[in-house]
């Protein structure tokens, strides 16, 4: 292995700790402190991936989270795998395995590379334009396209890691621990403000910490040395919490930020065990200081994407921070002084810099002079017109730029090189600022968008605010910080600073080539293979809005969200369309800043914690007795109890017969229960239910229907008058919380004069409902001294009683049409009372039944279920429940709406019964009902809402809503299904015991 590419490392790399890892199946080694990218470069590996569309070979371009190319899949042979990770962010550890994505069979021999050869036929919008016809072929196209696209492989097994969420409240949050962030955090904490400083990297100090810039001095010390001292002191400051490897993903309104703290990704597999992998921090900060820095821009020129072409700042960071040389023969291409710093740094380390191509005419700054004096050749007013080298850069060609920058002249200079550092200026990282709702302004001088209008208590400092030189960074920070924190002074008000001066600039968004643009490949978005040519095509085709051009060309839509090239895309659009950048605006910056794993987002809310559920006190009994469960709202309800291998149908048929022939028992604990007290309780019920409540006697129960103000049925249930000013309301299981909310709303806002108090007691009581002809005998066995005669305890009445030591409220109410009792006890006695009922009912073969049988039994009686037979568009009149709507009451919720012209229409959908001509056919719920099969288009009259096979009637029954159904009794209709048409007849919805004799049997 060549050691040439590792020069004397800096203090950030621990050469005593060798780390081996695998990339694309091959063994390599690096040192502790390396990223995967730096370790690969040290091994002279540049080719790390293929581009998305043309499958062009791509190399490492950056040294940070903005990386568009070096996107890899991490896997360790177990079910722990993660796609789309940036090699520039992965800290290597012993045993790391990474592989290239988007190539097959391998990154060196990629069949998709043929797309590059035929790229002339793959313009912007190619897929939209080509695969439109014939429409029926899309499924076939899609298979091939999806197969050839795709970035990385998603895991197929359950994620073995644990993730966490944490809330943090602080006075000041500082995002970014470069020199600005460190100084800001330090001064905030020293002013007794609870401060949190976060940075996405594992080291503090940003770019200042490793840059041995000759021309940047603070207090006569090298700026990096000065900053190291500051960082050392940070650790001793009270009130300051520091989190590294923590990337802020989102900045929402009211200073609410989401950040991902990475805890174990840098550890060896054995050290990962038992630890939380990542933590989502939900931060609410009184003040936010953004010190997110700036990203270096590339330059857009022909074939600017080959492996070996990197940002000049990345070349410098690999050399300074990681001690890694990116090439043996280096060339720089620039429009500002940044490349000179990189060139000078390499030169000082004894690394060959062949030349600098500069599009400017000249520059007088000290650093340029130093480079000139070092003997490095500078080609002023030149641009690169082409590059060569398939899997690695081998040569560049440069030519003289015309004065207007639109064309090239003169003869070609060819320079052979294996690394090209590109410096196109700096783009302030304003992503978080704009996410928070901040408005940008365009700075014509630096060609950057800068924070302008702040939507919350926040401040941007340093280069993300457009301050690029050390002197302006520190002095502006000092001024602004005093104002922002409302303090008189900072620690660094009077530090002596020496920094490089303003340099000359020349900005050309798209650099010309000697070839016409149609024959060039100037990449703007590297990850999505969008070129300047594509953007121009989009404009030619009539796209004007920046948002549309983005979507049509896919510029900025990769996992990197176009962090590198978005500014150039805007610039090229502005130049081509002849508008100003300030008028064009930017595309919307959306969270997350860097991708988050799903694990981090869901945190602990996985498995049984994904959605909490509620269980009744009898739940254990249901489980012991092999019940199948169904979800009703958040509740787990016993659905049916299959015995001896019964199917669901068999179990339900058996349970339904038993309930009508002898006795059945249902766990009704989930019904919503609201305790209503107060001197105006009766008046309140009068206003919320459609029927009258004033005359309900104490100890009596009444069924009530509740409407919305629009007249549509909202909820139903039985309410019992427990005392003069005391009622117990029951609601549907799923509607309980909303009903309580609605009642509270009216009490607080419309009728505050009413003396009424509401308490949810759903969880306080458990309910066992026993029904059937033998239910009376069973209750008699349980409470022998309770008078169960019709006179003493009639249907729709209530008694307090005691079973053993257990106090209970017994309501004689029925949802099945059978003689039945609901026994309510304090929740913790729920299982005990259930078991007592089972014991007492043994001689009558009492049969537990679940929700499915309950539904069947009530359907036999034509009782509705709100939410199944109604859908928010049914009035009580539509349900043929006119009997429950009081004509005498002056008002109740929804009353006026029942007399609107629309709700009074005859042809509204109305609830009816349906019988199939063939009694063995059970209709499908949701099936459509028509009257004329030959009509085209066919007129849908309505649909089936409930459908069962009734064992007690020995035929199928159904409830349905049908337009004008009320006046269609006996009418024959049709239900067209995929394979047949079913003939049905409209009937009265009460199928069983139409005279209600069984209630009192």
């Amino acid at each position: 292995m060549s050691t040439y590419f590792r020069i004397k490392p800096s203090e950030f790399i621990d050469e005593t700790v060798r780390v081996s890892f695998k990339f694309n199946g091959k063994n390599y080694h690096g040192f502790k402190g390396d990223t995967l990218a730096s370790a690969l470069l040290a091994n002279n590996v540049h080719l790390v991936g293929r581009s998305f569309k043309y499958h062009r070979p791509r190399g490492i371009m950056t040294a940070g989270s903005e990386e568009p190319n070096a996107i890899v899949q991490i896997s360790d042979g177990t079910n722990r795998t993660e796609p789309n990770v940036r090699a520039t962010e992965i800290e290597i550890y012993e045993g790391l395995e990474a592989s290239s994505q988007n190539c097959w069979p391998s990154v060196n021999h990629d069949i998709g590379g043929i797309n590059n050869a035929i790229s002339a036929f793959l313009p912007a919008g190619f897929y939209y334009k080509t695969f439109m016809w014939p429409a029926s072929f899309w499924e076939k196209y899609e298979y091939v396209i999806r197969h050839s696209a795709g970035l990385g492989k998603s895991p197929t097994e359950r994620d073995p890691d644990v993730y966490d969420h944490r809330y943090i409240h602080c006075d000041v949050l500082v995002v970014g621990a470069g020199i600005s962030g460190i100084l800001a955090a330090r001064n905030a904490a020293k002013n007794n403000l609870k401060t949190l400083l976060v940075d996405e990297k594992n080291e503090l100090g940003g770019s200042t910490i490793y840059q041995n810039r000759e021309f940047n001095k603070i207090e006569n010390q090298n700026s990096s040395d000065w900053l190291k001292k500051e960082i050392k002191e940070l650790r001793n400051i009270k009130n300051l919490e520091i989190k590294t490897r923590t990337s802020v993903a989102a900045f929402h309104g009211y200073n609410y930020l989401l950040a991902r703290e990475n805890l174990t990704d840098h550890l060896e597999n054995k050290d990962k065990q038992g630890k939380i992998r990542q933590r989502l921090l939900k931060i609410r900060a009184k003040k936010v200081i953004l010190a997110t820095g700036a990203l270096e821009r590339p330059l857009i020129f022909n074939n600017n994407d080959r492996p070996g072409i990197m940002l000049s700042s990345a070349v410098k960071k690999y050399a300074d921070f990681y001690g890694v040389v990116s090439g043996k023969k280096n060339v720089f291409f620039t429009n500002n002084d940044s490349a000179y710093e990189s060139a000078f740094c390499l030169h000082n380390k004894g690394i060959n810099v062949e030349a600098i191509i500069d599009i400017r005419e000249s520059s007088n700054s000290k650093i340029v002079k130093a480079v000139e004096e070092a003997g490095i050749k500078i080609h002023w007013s030149h641009t690169i017109v082409d590059t060569r080298g398939y899997k690695r850069l081998s040569e560049i060609s440069a030519m003289m730029l015309s004065n207007d920058g639109l064309s090239v002249t003169g003869s070609k200079i060819n320079i052979s090189c294996d690394c090209l550092g590109v410096a196109g200026g700096w783009t302030p990282a304003v992503h978080l600022f704009t996410q928070s709702g901040g408005k940008l302004k365009f700075d014509e001088n630096d060609n950057v968008f800068l924070p302008n209008i702040y939507p919350s208590e926040q401040m941007s400092v340093g280069s993300c605010n457009g301050d690029f030189k050390l002197k302006e960074i520190i002095s502006n920070l000092s001024t602004n910080l005093k104002q922002f924190l409302k303090v008189d002074k900072t620690d660094f008000d009077n530090v002596l600073i020496e920094s490089e001066e303003e340099n000359s600039k020349r900005n050309i968004w798209l650099l010309p080539s000697d070839k016409p643009i149609g024959k060039t490949k100037p990449f703007v978005d590297y990850q999505n293979d969008a070129t300047a040519k594509d953007i121009k095509l989009a404009l030619r085709e009539g796209f004007r809005s920046i948002e549309h051009v983005k979507r049509y060309t896919t510029t900025g839509m990769g996992t990197d969200q176009g962090k590198l090239g978005n500014m150039h895309a805007l610039g090229i659009i502005a130049d081509t369309a002849g508008v100003k950048m300030s008028e064009l605006g930017t595309t919307t910056f959306r969270p997350p800043y860097t991708p988050l794993t799903f694990g981090t987002i869901v945190g602990r809310n996985v498995g049984e914690y994904f959605d909490v559920f509620r269980r009744t006190p009898m739940n254990d009994w249901h489980i012991e007795n092999k019940a199948e469960f169904e979800n009703v709202g958040q509740w787990k309800r016993a659905w049916y109890y299959p015995a001896n291998g019964e199917t669901m149908h068999e179990a339900v048929q058996r349970e339904s017969k038993a309930a009508r022939e002898s006795a059945g028992i249902l766990d009704a604990s989930t019904l919503g229960k609201i305790d209503i007290q107060g001197t105006d309780a009766s008046e309140f019920l009068n206003r919320v239910y459609t029927n009258a409540w004033s005359k309900l006697g104490i100890g009596k129960c009444r069924y009530g229907l509740m409407l919305n103000e629009d007249g549509m049925v909202y909820d139903d249930g039985v309410t019992t008058r427990l005392g003069e000013n005391h009622y117990l309301m029951t609601t549907t299981t799923g509607g309980a919380a909303n009903v309580l909310g609605k009642l509270e709303d009216y009490l607080q806002t419309e009728w505050p004069e009413l003396d009424v108090y509401l308490t949810s007691v759903t969880d306080h009581f458990a309910t066992a409902s026993i029904c059937g002809p033998n239910s009376k005998k069973i209750l008699n066995k349980l409470i022998p001294d309770l008078d169960l005669s019709e006179e003493s305890f009639p249907h729709m009445s209530f008694k307090n009683a005691q079973i053993g030591n257990i106090k209970c409220r017994i309501m004689r109410i029925s949802f099945t049409g059978e003689h039945s009792y609901e026994i309510n006890v304090q929740s913790n006695y729920g299982k005990a009372i259930w078991e007592k009922c089972m014991e007492a009912g043994k001689e009558f073969s009492i049969t537990p039944y679940g929700t499915e049988t309950m539904h069947l039994l009530r359907a036999e009686k034509g009782f509705i279920i709100v939410g199944q037979d109604t859908d928010g568009t049914m009035t009580p009149i539509d349900l043929q429940m006119d009997w429950i709507v009081s004509k005498k009451k002056y008002d109740f919720i929804g009353k006026r709406s029942l007399y609107r012209s629309d709700t009074m229409k005859e042809e509204r959908k109305q609830l009816v019964g349906l019988l199939t001509d063939d009694p063995n056919i059970v209709l499908e719920e949701g099936a459509q009902i028509v009257s004329d099969l030959n009509q085209s288009p066919v007129n849908m009259l309505g649909h089936v809402t409930s459908s069962y096979y009734s064992p007690n009637l020995k035929k199928s029954i159904a409830l349905a809503v049908v337009r004008g159904g009320k006046n269609m009794m006996g009418k024959k209709l049709f239900i067209p299904m995929e394979d047949k048409t079913i003939n049905v007849t409209i009937e009265n919805p009460v199928f069983f015991d139409t005279e209600n004799k069984r209630l009192n049997a």
Partner: protein, 91 residues
Amino acid sequence: MFLINCPYCGERDHQEFKAGGEAHIERPKQPTELSDDEWAEYLFMRKNIKGIQFERWNHAHGCRKWFNMVRDTSNDQIKLIYKMGEKPPAE
């Protein structure tokens, strides 16, 4: 991600709250006296303003009290919070 100053509990995260639509729409005292149009005006017609809007909010996962909020919908700035029954500001 509002931070809402509940008039009864103080500042809380907006996850604890439920929005309840436009404020100061009083339920008519005599609905039966109203024409269909007048009733429809109460029932259905709501403003959807870009700018200053008066809204009802409920501290659903807290004290469960309803209150009023003046919010600029264009930038989500909460201008004022006041209790149910209190008069809206003149502006």
